[in-house]
């Protein structure tokens, strides 16, 4: 079965809309992009019954494949935190009849790129290969997924690397802020544990744990695949079966309950002797399937999203010089939805930075954005959508993300009209709903902000990784 959806034509149309703005310097203009040959997203189902999304890209002689299995670190017991991450790091450290050294030699001899990583909800991977070496690349990936060895010398070596990273992170204010925020906000839930584990749990992970995790989590029923390259649907089906066909049909995943962030309205402080403090604030967001999700995404863009013009950027950085970096985001996870904002600022002004962030959040909650801000944000989000598709690797990653979020293969077409449909009333309603609520704040650093409020010294254990970004919009 093949479903074809034109993508780039739609992207080009989005760019047309943005061009209507009268911003041209002088009398010159480049023509807007003409309609193109329908570069398309195809949904394919392999002879073995595995679904994948495919974009044919004939101009560069390489193939990019991204994939993800559902069930990342949230599938791991608390006393084995870090298991999913350690497994991801070990998949290319020996598989089948290739030991670690033989595997790495083959990867490099054929200039293959092969990467795996774990997040709270997923174990994901990406493969990059020159078209001429594709068969070798596909076989290496198949071996890594279906026959990882977890030899003891490789496990000990990679474990030592993980522990070294955890030691470094134990003195890093960003890591500490994240770890304490997640531990408090999701106490009792698997999301509380850091993806990379702790200095106590990582030493406890055994080869049997690693094998057990891979056996339970790597299966065809939770697998999402994106392929970009000069291959047609038939060839793509063969590739998919060759790599993933031998995996078990069904994953054995533990149920993970949906959760709301806890301890809202509190402020945590962690003492750490650093020149710059880290401030993190977070509360409830919206699930990606919530009808108001796109409104929340637009709202966040105006408040603290990506550009140099957000309210937080203007107030915290430009007007007051309090920080180099200040941001906010919507994080729709599988089992919770969050809004988070944060900055890094000199310690003697950390309280001021936190107060400015909170007051901007409150101001947005009470009166929402202006019509002008809304129009600019919508125009930006539509116009910049094409920038997510300008490399094969980025396209492959988008194909997987949209499948994980279950947004449909026509999302590429609908997406800009979803942005368009957001009204000022929508954004104001969502702002009241999300930003009026209490949030949990964390401050890591030294000085009055921390010392004055019953600070606890930083424990010598480990930080949480930042949650995997699944950019909803």
């Amino acid at each position: 079965m093949t479903v074809v959806v034109s993508m780039l034509r739609i992207l080009a149309r989005g760019a047309h809309a943005a061009a209507a703005l009268t911003l041209v310097a002088g009398a010159l203009a480049l023509p807007t992009a003409p309609a193109r040959a329908a570069t398309a997203v195809e949904r394919i189902v392999s002879p073995g019954g595995i679904e994948a999304w495919l974009v044919r890209e004939p101009t560069i002689p390489l193939i990019a494949i991204d994939f993800a299995f559902r069930g990342g670190s949230s599938q791991v017991p608390a006393n084995k935190a870090g298991l999913a991450s350690l497994a991801a790091d070990l998949l290319d450290e020996g598989a089948g009849d290739l030991d670690s050294r033989a595997f790495h030699e083959r990867v490099e001899n054929y200039a293959i790129g092969l990467h795996f990583s774990a997040s709270r909800d997923y174990l994901s991977g990406s493969l990059y290969t020159l078209a001429e070496h594709q068969d070798i690349a596909f076989d290496l990936l198949r071996l890594a997924l279906t026959a990882p060895r977890f030899d003891s010398d490789a496990v000990e070596r990679v474990r030592a690397q993980a522990l070294s990273g955890l030691r470094r992170a134990s003195m890093n204010p960003n890591d500490l802020a994240n770890r304490s925020w997640w531990a408090k906000a999701f106490a009792g839930h698997p999301y509380a544990q850091p993806v990379g584990g702790t200095l106590e749990t990582v030493p406890a992970i055994t080869a049997d744990d690693l094998k057990g995790y891979v056996h339970r989590a790597f299966a065809r029923d939770t697998l999402k695949i994106g392929i970009v390259g000069n291959v047609d649907a038939v060839a793509a089906g063969r590739i998919v079966d060759r790599i993933f066909g031998a995996l078990p049909a069904k994953a054995e995943l533990a149920d993970v309950s949906n959760a709301q962030p806890l301890a809202l309205g509190n402020k945590l402080t962690v003492e750490l002797d650093v020149p710059q403090s880290v401030v993190l604030v977070g509360g409830a967001g919206l699930a990606q399937k919530d009808p108001d999700f796109m409104a929340s995404y637009v709202l966040n863009h105006i408040l603290g999203g990506g550009s140099f013009t957000s309210r937080l950027y203007r107030e915290v950085r430009e007007a007051r010089g309090l920080a180099y970096s200040v941001h906010s985001s919507m994080l729709p996870l599988d089992h919770a939805a969050l809004f988070v904002a944060g900055t890094a600022t000199r310690t003697d002004r950390a309280d001021e930075a936190l107060a400015v962030i909170q007051s901007e959040i409150r101001r947005m909650a009470e009166s929402g954005p202006t019509q002008e801000e809304l129009e600019a944000a919508k125009s930006f989000l539509k116009g910049s959508y094409a920038l997510r598709f300008d490399t094969s690797g980025k396209i492959a990653s988008q194909l997987v993300m949209l499948q994980l979020a279950d947004l449909g293969i026509d999302y590429f077409i609908r997406r800009n009209s979803l942005v368009d449909a957001v009204t000022l009333d929508d954004v104001k309603r969502v702002a009241r709903r999300l930003l009026m609520a209490d949030m949990l704040a964390t401050v890591v650093g030294r000085g009055p902000s921390v010392a004055g409020s019953g600070a606890t010294p930083a424990p010598a254990t480990v930080p949480a990784a930042v949650p995997a970004r699944r950019d909803g919009g």
Partner: protein, 467 residues
Amino acid sequence: MPLTFCRALSPLTAISVASAVLAGAAAWTPVRAAAADTEIAHFALANGLSVVVIPDHRVPVITHMVWYRVGSADEPPGVSGIAHFLEHLMFKGTEKNPSGKFSQVLATVGGQENAFTTADYTGYFQRIAREHLPVVMGFEADRMTGLVLTNENVLPERDVVLEEYNMRVANSPDARLGEQVAAALYLNHPYGRPVIGWRREIEKLTREDALAFYRRFYAPNNAIVVVAGDVSAEEVKALAEDIYGKVAARPDVGVRARPQEPDPVAVRHVMLADPRAAQPSLQRSYLVPSEPQAGPGEAEALDLLAHILGSGQNSRLYRTLVEDKRIAINAGANYSGTSVDATSFSIYATPRPGTSLEDLETAIDAVVAEVADAGVSAAELDRAKTRMIADAVYARDSQATMARWYGAALATGLTIEQVKSWPDRVRAIDADAVRNAARTWLGKQRSVTGYLVKEWPAKGDKKEKKS
């Protein structure tokens, strides 16, 4: 830096170019036939501005970059950090486009923007839908010479830079050690100064310092414009002539006459104690020639040497220190050839708990000595070449990567032809050349070795440093 461009013309390319239509009052010529449109083009305007065009028609977006041939190594003494501070201040507006206007426009049409500063160059870029190229060119041309600064926007931005310093350097023990190693490596050349500046000098930078530096170095005849993406060379040429061509050249633009390094003669060590260094580490830098100043084949051999010694898990350092001896958690090497003056060949390693930095250093010395004595194997050399040449193909997948490689090469004195011939020159290097590079350039008297520790060793523990 390495790349190739023998890209086949695709049907997609043919369609997009052939059907392009003119919009607006066109002061530029119609696009040409598509046939040659995958070639990288390079030309200069009458005012001295260099322009590079890298066509990639897969998606209707472009990456537009302006590179100035000026960086922290061109700063006068006493105002370290001014090149980077000026980069921040370039967003503060001009008479024609007041503060924030450029960013506001990009934030409306959907463009990404940013800027960066190194020792040798300063760059500004936008990524945006193709039809906005004239708009971003207009803004960049305007701020090339029209910057207006007031203390109201300069002083808060200096605080922002100090927070950037806190984030990148002060909060990072490894970055603090890196500053000390570089300072000890360069006895005479300004590469010894941190790009972001020394904190006490950043704190005192003024509006006048920034404007003086700006007037000395920002001019079309000291800049390179790179446009990568869904454009043709003709389109870009017409636009550039009309927009950038109006900016007057500055005949007295600052020249790069930097004090050069004497021949290094002493083995140097530095040690930094930082209570936040929960993980000790070792960094070493050797003074070696950059690609623009290297003799024939030398930079290519150094790149291959760095790859064989320390890139990835098949490298000598990783296999010996991490896998065989099990005294390190990680180890690697790197050569930064894209540099105007003498650059560094660096080695880094993280010891396993229980291994002293001295023992780790001794083991590193042995790995380097073995390559210098016995050379590298044919398998190692082939593997390194394959990887480096493939990287050039992978780079073609990203218009932003291509734009950066070409911009950095031109800004440091390399030519388009040198970038294009890189894979062929790498192919031509033999094992003897790699061994000779190790013998010639990795003598320990050319190096500084830095130790990062949590606390200063107690007096009784102090070991003699071996050289």
